[in-house]
């Protein structure tokens, strides 16, 4: 089984050299630690390309934050722009990939990651725009919830963030692709058998 960092490391392999990508909050943020020698430019949807690491104490700048509202730094390549331009490049398909977390993914590529009915709703932020606009949507999440129920489903039970938008799912148990008729196993995590991955998956595996 992969831990958070191993999932992030596996997800980093998805990124192609020379591309612009958007990383979500949580495990996806860790992906930045594993891009290695690849030339990857990170977009922050509040208006920045070329997002740098967190500042060292004392260098925080109230005018420089990421989409999670954390203080960050700029790089030599950084460019700033307004929110309409930022989502113009997202909606316009200029961002090659987004890596984001999820509550549920379905075998048809439906994604739910913004709202649990009956619980406090905070809003979708930029998630709906990202999944509808970027070239490739890669979900990184635990395969099952804390009750042991599969989060990889025949169809989502929660309100959707996007319909048929997910391309690849990376979980603690392995990697699956959304294909015609269901999901296809790409690989299993270290120490996980294909049968174990199938057993933990509610979705149809083709």
């Amino acid at each position: 089984m992969w831990d958070r960092n191993q999932m992030a490391e596996r997800a980093a392999q998805e990124l192609e050299d020379g591309t612009y990508v958007n990383l979500g909050i949580g495990i996806p943020t860790l992906v930045a630690n594993y891009v290695g020698d690849k030339d990857i430019t990170l977009q922050s949807e509040n208006g920045m390309l070329g997002m740098g690491p967190f500042p060292i104490a004392g260098d925080e700048d109230a005018d420089l934050i990421n989409a999670g509202k954390q203080t960050i730094t700029e790089l030599d390549r950084t460019a700033y722009f307004d929110s309409a331009t930022s989502f113009g490049m997202i909606r316009g398909g200029k961002i090659a990939a987004a890596i984001l977390g999820a509550m549920e993914v379905a075998e048809n590529g439906d994604l739910a990651n913004w709202m649990i009915p009956g619980k406090l709703v905070k809003g979708m932020g930029g998630a709906m725009d990202l999944v509808a606009g970027v070239g490739r949507v890669i979900v990184v999440m635990d395969h099952t919830n804390k009750h042991g129920d599969s989060k990889v489903l025949k169809s989502c039970t929660l309100p959707l963030t996007g319909q048929g938008v997910v391309h690849r799912i990376i979980t603690n148990l392995g990697v699956l692709d959304v294909v015609a008729g269901g999901l296809q196993i790409v690989e299993t995590a270290e120490g996980v058998t294909e049968q174990e991955l199938r057993d933990a998956t509610e979705a149809t595996i083709v």
Binding site: E45, P55, Y80, M128, Q163
Partner: protein
């Protein structure tokens, strides 16, 4: 063309009325028009509808207008950081319209450009699409979203010249240009007003045609999530 006012209250004089629609710049607490929000609180204007990506925190940003119950409705993409907001929303005192973040930005930009509606893939197949016109282009389904035309835009920039040409700083630009564009009247607060002619015309982020009134003032610029790494 006299755009410079002595303070926020003077710059808003004659522009505020109960039930009005205000578009505000800012993302989280970054680049919010904190002086103008404070002046709207002091003016006591009620039943306001705000188009703003976020609703501030309890004691800063739009949050200060929630405490005084001056806000009737929010149009936002994310409202997570505000306990008073949630209390008023769950008790039915406050209306909330969620917009995907890019849709909200484009609604402002479109309104400012005289575009009453546009089609986007964002939200197709989700609750956001319910009740909206669907239309297919080249085999893909889109929904129609409407441009925002606000009574007033309130905006924070870094520098302005005396004619209202604006320069923003880093990610504090965010929703400020599209918010400025969609207001019938736009009032801007800046950290510094410099003499006309001292800004490079090639480096203007938002031309003064969008700016009607201008103030300079001291900003708190609060940080919401101070995050650092080891040196």
């Amino acid at each position: 063309m006299k755009k410079i006012y002595p303070n926020a209250a003077a710059a808003l004089d004659g522009l505020l009325h109960d039930g009005m629609f205000i578009a505000s710049g800012g993302f989280g607490l970054c680049g919010i028009p904190e002086l103008l929000l404070s002046a709207i609180k002091d003016a006591g204007t009620k039943d306001l509808t705000f188009a703003s990506n976020n609703a501030g925190v309890d004691d800063f940003g739009i949050g200060i207008l929630l405490q005084t119950k001056q806000v009737k409705k929010m149009i936002s993409s994310y409202v997570g950081e505000n306990a008073e907001f949630m209390r008023q929303y769950l008790s039915g005192e406050l209306e909330l319209e969620f917009n995907p973040q890019g849709t909200l930005a484009e609604r402002m930009r479109a309104g400012g450009c005289g575009i009453p509606g546009f089609y986007t893939k964002t939200g197709v197949g989700t609750v956001i699409a319910e009740g909206k016109e669907h239309k297919d282009f080249k085999g893909e389904t889109y929904i129609m979203e409407e441009g925002i035309f606000a009574d007033l835009a309130i905006v924070k920039a870094w520098k302005a010249d005396e004619t209202g040409n604006l320069i923003f700083r880093r990610t504090a630009r965010n929703f400020n240009p599209p918010a400025a564009m969609c207001g019938k009247v736009c009032v801007v607060e800046v950290e510094e007003i410099v003499p006309t002619g001292s800004l490079d015309p090639d480096h203007i982020h938002l031309p003064g045609i969008y700016v009607h009134r201008l103030i300079q003032g001291d900003h708190e610029k609060r940080i919401e999530q101070r995050t650092v790494r080891e040196a």
